[in-house]
C-alpha cells in the first residue's frame, strides 16, 4: 500500500446554491480514496421551458450517481460541515431530493465527520464536546434546535403572507428560513451512516483529530473550527452569559415538543378591527418594524448556524487544501486570533494552495486581512509572480441571497473580482446547465 497520495482530484459539483465537493486522494492506479465534503442545495439554476429552477429531486440523484461512479462504490469519508440545507439536503433519503441520500449511504463511508454541535450525546449538555458532563443544562445545541423552529415558522409565514411582507422581503425570508429548517431526514441519515457497521462518527472541534488519519496515510488533516464553548469561554472569562440564551428566549423552552411559542405568536394571522383612529398611524409603523426585526432575527440565526461550520485544512505532499464550509468571522476568529496555536495556524494558512471559498462568496466568510491578504500564492497586485498560483473553488448561485444595494449580495462582487484577478477560479456558476448538455462538475487536479 502506498504511504502517501501521488495526487488529489477535486470535483466541485453543480448544486446551485449549495456545496458539494469530492476529494479523491490518488494512492495508485487502483487505489483512490474519496472524501465527500457536503452535499446540499437550496436552489438550482434555471433551465427548460418555461424557465424554472431545476428540480432537486431529479438533479441530486444524478450528482449522487456520479459520486458513486467516480468513487467506484466506496467512500472513505463523508463530511457535513454544518447542518444548513444547502450543505446537507442531498443526504436526505426522502423524495424532495429524490432519495439521493440512499445512494450516498450505499457507498458506506468509513468515517462521518460533523462538527461537535451535531453530536447527539452533546445535546444533553452542549458545554463540552464529549459526554463527560451530566448536568443537563439548556445549552448551545438546544439553541440550534430552537433556531430551526424559528426558521420553520418564518419560512412558512413568508410563504403564506408574502403580500404582507412585500415581494423582496418575503423572498429573502423564505430563502433564509428554508435554509435553516431542520432537515430531519438528512440528519438522521448522517447519524445512521456514522453508526453503520465498520464506520466511525467523528464530532470534531478546533484542535481535535478528524478520524481520517488511519484511512488517509500521508495526509494531515487540521480541524481549525468550530471552537467549542469551553474554548471560547477561556477567552470570554468576563462574559457572564451565553449567547445561545438569546435563541431560547425567542423560541421559548428548549426541547419543547408541543408547539413553539414564536410559532404560535407569529401565526396571529388576520389583523383585527377595532383599533382607535388615534392609534392607526403607529400601528402601521409598528408592523413595519416587526417585519424588519424578523428579517434581522433570521439573518442573525443564519450567521449563528454558519458559525458551527467545520473548517478543515488538508496537508498533502506539502500542498494545503482549505475547506471552511460556511464559517464566518466569529468562527474563524478563534483559530486566527484567540487560540494559543494561532501563529502556527496563520503560517499554515498563508501557504494554502486550494481554497474553497467560504459561504458561497458572501461578504464575511473570507476574512479579508486575517486570511485573504495573507494568502501567499495570490497573483497580481504588482507583486512578484508566485511560483504556483492559488486555486479557488466557488460553489454559488447569484441573485439568491442578500442585495447588491446593501452590499450583501452573494457572491459579493469585490470578492468575486479579487478571486478572478488573483487566483485560478473555478466557479460552479460557469458550468453549463442546459438540459442537453449539463456539466456536472469542475475537476481540479493537485499534484506535488
Amino acid at each position: 500500500m502506498a504511504r502517501a497520495p501521488r495526487s488529489v482530484e477535486i470535483r466541485s459539483y453543480q448544486v446551485g446554491f449549495g456545496d458539494c465537493f469530492l476529494l479523491s486522494f490518488v494512492y495508485g492506479p487502483t487505489d483512490k480514496r474519496h472524501v465527500l465534503i457536503d452535499f446540499g442545495t437550496t436552489e438550482l439554476p434555471v433551465r427548460g421551458q418555461p424557465r424554472a429552477p431545476a428540480k432537486a429531486s431529479q438533479h441530486m440523484p444524478e450528482v449522487a450517481k456520479d459520486i458513486a461512479r467516480v468513487s467506484e462504490g466506496r467512500l472513505t469519508a463523508v463530511v457535513a460541515t454544518h447542518r444548513h440545507a444547502d450543505h446537507i439536503s442531498g443526504f436526505a433519503t426522502d423524495a424532495r431530493t429524490g432519495k439521493s441520500g440512499e445512494i450516498i449511504a450505499k457507498l458506506k463511508p468509513k468515517v462521518v465527520i460533523q462538527p461537535w454541535t451535531e453530536d447527539p450525546r452533546a445535546a444533553r449538555d452542549a458545554r463540552k464536546a464529549t459526554r463527560d458532563s451530566s448536568a443537563s443544562r439548556r445549552g448551545f445545541i438546544a439553541g440550534l434546535g430552537a433556531m430551526h423552529d424559528i426558521a420553520a415558522v418564518v419560512a412558512d409565514l413568508a410563504q403564506r403572507r408574502a403580500s404582507w411582507f412585500g415581494p423582496a422581503l418575503a423572498k429573502q425570508l423564505r430563502f433564509l428560513g428554508e435554509d435553516n429548517i431542520r432537515n430531519a431526514s438528512a440528519v438522521k441519515n448522517l447519524i445512521a451512516m456514522g453508526k453503520a457497521r465498520g464506520a466511525v462518527a467523528v464530532w470534531a472541534r478546533h484542535g481535535s483529530t478528524s478520524g481520517l488519519e488511519r484511512h488517509l496515510p500521508g495526509v494531515k488533516v487540521h480541524v481549525l473550527g468550530p471552537p467549542d464553548l469551553t474554548q471560547t469561554e477561556t477567552i470570554k472569562t468576563m462574559r457572564s452569559k451565553d449567547p445561545s440564551e438569546f435563541w431560547h428566549l425567542l423560541a421559548g423552552r428548549s426541547g419543547l415538543r408541543d408547539g413553539v411559542p414564536l410559532a404560535q405568536g407569529l401565526n396571529g394571522g388576520r389583523r383585527t378591527a377595532g383599533v382607535p383612529a388615534e392609534a392607526r398611524w403607529f400601528r402601521e409603523r409598528l408592523e413595519r418594524m416587526q417585519r424588519e426585526q424578523l428579517l434581522e432575527i433570521v439573518r442573525t440565526l443564519d450567521d449563528q448556524m454558519n458559525n458551527t461550520s467545520l473548517i478543515l485544512l488538508f496537508e498533502v505532499f506539502g500542498r494545503k487544501l482549505l475547506f471552511p464550509g460556511d464559517a464566518q468571522l466569529e468562527n474563524w476568529s478563534y483559530a486566527l486570533v484567540d487560540a494559543p496555536t494561532r501563529d502556527r495556524t496563520q503560517r499554515l494558512l498563508a501557504a494554502v494552495d486550494v481554497y474553497k471559498v467560504g459561504h458561497h462568496g458572501s461578504l464575511n466568510a473570507t476574512p479579508k486581512t486575517l486570511l485573504w491578504e495573507r494568502f501567499a500564492h495570490r497573483k497580481g497586485n504588482g507583486r512578484r509572480k508566485p511560483a504556483r498560483v492559488l486555486t479557488t473553488l466557488l460553489s454559488t448561485l447569484p441573485g439568491k441571497h442578500g442585495s447588491t444595494q446593501r452590499k450583501t449580495e452573494v457572491p459579493r462582487t469585490p470578492l468575486l473580482k479579487a478571486l478572478e484577478a488573483e487566483t485560478e477560479l473555478f466557479n460552479t456558476d460557469t458550468l453549463s446547465f442546459a438540459a442537453k448538455n449539463t456539466e456536472l462538475c469542475h475537476t481540479v487536479e493537485v499534484k506535488p
Partner: protein
Amino acid sequence: MSKKTARRRARRRRVTPGGGAPRPAMRYMSVIAQDPSVKNRSGGILMAKVTVPAEELVPGPIGYRVQVVDYNSTTRKFRDAHALPATFGAQPKRWRDGARSLVDDYRFHAQNVYALVMKTLARFEFALGRRVGWSFDAHQLKIAPHGMLDANAFYSPGEEGLVFGYFPGRTGRTIYTCLSHDVVVHETTHALVDALRERYLDPSSPDQAAFHEGFADVVALLSVFSQKELIAAMLRRPASKSPSRTLIHRKDIAPDALKDNALLSLAEQMGGEMEGVRGGALRRSVTLDPEPGLLAQSEFLEPHRRGEVFVAAVMNAFVDAWSRRIDTSGAPGQQLYPIARVAEDGADIAEALMTMWIRALDYMPPVHLEFPDALSAALTADLEVRPDDSRFELRRHLLRSFRRYEIEPASPVRNLPGIWEPAPAGLRYDRVRFDSMRSDKDEVFRFLWENRGTLWTRHNVSNLERAAYSEVLSVRPCVRAGLDGFILRETVAEYYQVARLTVAELRKAGITLPAGYQDSLRRAQRETGERRSAALPAAAASGLGRSRDGFAEDDEALTTPIYGGGALIFDEYGRLKYHVHNELFQPERQSRRLAYLWEAGFIQTGRQGVRFRAARLSTMHRLRSMDARRYPAEAW
C-alpha cells in the same frame, strides 16, 4: 340648601389664577420597583410609589407627552385603550401590594410604562431646568407596551416610539420587558438623549457609539437605586449577620460590601431571562475591574462592552460616595446604622448623581463625543449648579473612579480639575441683543459670526468661513435648581457644522487619511468615471484634472464630510461662560475620527460619494444581547 352643601359649593367657587378649582400638580402611581422577580417581604412583587406630573389622561392612556398604544404587531391585535385609576387611592389594592397577578394585568402594564416614562421625562426637565421635547416634531411619544414577540426593547426615532417586546421565559411564563423599570427608563433615556444630542447616533468615535448605551444604562440604574424602598429591601438581607431587620452593621457599608449587598444582590434577583435584553451592565459594573489598557482592548471597542466601562465608572463612584457618606455621618465608633437612613442616603445620592449626568448633556460637545468630554461636562455642569460639593463629594468620587478606568477629563484646567475652560476673553456683545439671545437662533448665529475670530483660535482657521454649512440647532433658556435651593439661570445653545472636503483639501487641513481609504475613493471614482464616460465620452476622454494615477484629488463629486460643533453656555447676563466644542479644522481629532470610521466599517464609498452608516438601536441591542463581536475590517 344645607349648610354643608353651601360650604362645598363655596369651596368649589374659590378662584385660582387659571380659573376653576385648584388641581394637584403631582400625581402618585404604583410601579414595579425593578421587575417582577424582585420580591417584597411577603413574597409579592416589590413595588414603589413614583411621583409624576399630574395631567388629565384619556384612555390609552394618552397624555400631553405620551401615547400608549397597546397594539401587538405579532398577533396583530389591539388589546385595549386602558383607562388608568384617577388617583393613587383608586388603584386596585393588588397594584399597591404587588400581587403576582400584576404580571398579566395589561392595564397595570400601561400604567407602569406611562409612569416610568413620565417620571424620567420629569427628571430630565428638572435637571435641565426647562421643557425637553422629543427628537421629532410630534409632542407625544408613542409607546407599545406589547409591541411584538421579541426578546428586545428599543427606541425608534423614525417611528417616534418605544417598542417593548415580550417573550416566553424558561418556565413558559411570558416575560414582559415593559415591566422592567431599568428597561423602560433605558429606552426613554435613548429617546431623550436623541432629542438633546441628535448627532450622537451617528458613528464618530468608539466612545460616542458606546455612550448612548452606557448613558441609558447609567440613568436606568440610578433611577432604580433612587427608590429607597428598593435599597432597603436589598440591605435587609446582607451577608453578615445583623442583630435586627432595621439595622445594618458598619462592615456591611464598606464600598465592597455595599456593592455586594445592594448592586450585586439586585443583579442576582433581577429577572435572569431579561439579561438577554438588557445585558449585564449592573453585574458588570461590580465585576469589571479596572486594568491598564482596558479601553484599548479589541473587546472593548465593541459599543456594548465599551459602554459597560462607562457604567462601571459611574456606579463605582456612586458606591464610594454612598459608603463615605454613611461613614462620615455616623458617630465615632458607631457600629450599627439604621437601614432606613442608609437607604435614604443611597437613594439621594443616586438621584443627585443622575441629575448631574443629565445636566452634563448640555455641557457636552454636540458632535464627536469622547468619554473625557463627558466627564468634564459632568464636573462642570455640577460645579455650576452645586458649587458646594462637601455633602456627598460626588465630583471627587467621580473623578477618582473614572481615573481608575484610565479616563481623564478632557479639560486641562489645573486648579479645578476637569472643569471646562472658561470662554475666551475679548468677546464682543455690542451688536447682539441680550433678549433675543435667549431664544433666537439667528441672533446666536450673529454672535458666532461677530466673534468668529475669537471663538475658534486654536487652529488658525475660522470655522465659520470655511464650513459649508453651519446651523444653530437650538437656543434654550434654563432655570436650574440645586438640591440646596441654589438657583442658576443659563441659556444653552448648540450649533453644528459640516464641511465637505476633497482629498486635496483634507490634506491641506492636516487631516491624515486612513490606509486603504484613498484606494477605496479611487475605486469609487473610477466607477463614477465609467458611468460618466458612458454618458459623455468626450469629457472622460479628455481626462482633465486627473493626476498620474487617474485619481483626481480635487474631484468635487467625491468629498468626505467632516463635522464640528459646539455648545454655548451663556450666563444670566447673556455673557458666554463656556464654549464646549469640537472644531471642524482640528486635524488630530478629525484624523482619529476618520481612522475609526474607516476601521469600524462605517464609511461607504460608492457612486454617490462618501456615506456613513447610522446606528440602529434595535440592532445595537440585539448585538448586545448576543454579546456579538464584529470584525468590520474583515468583510468584503
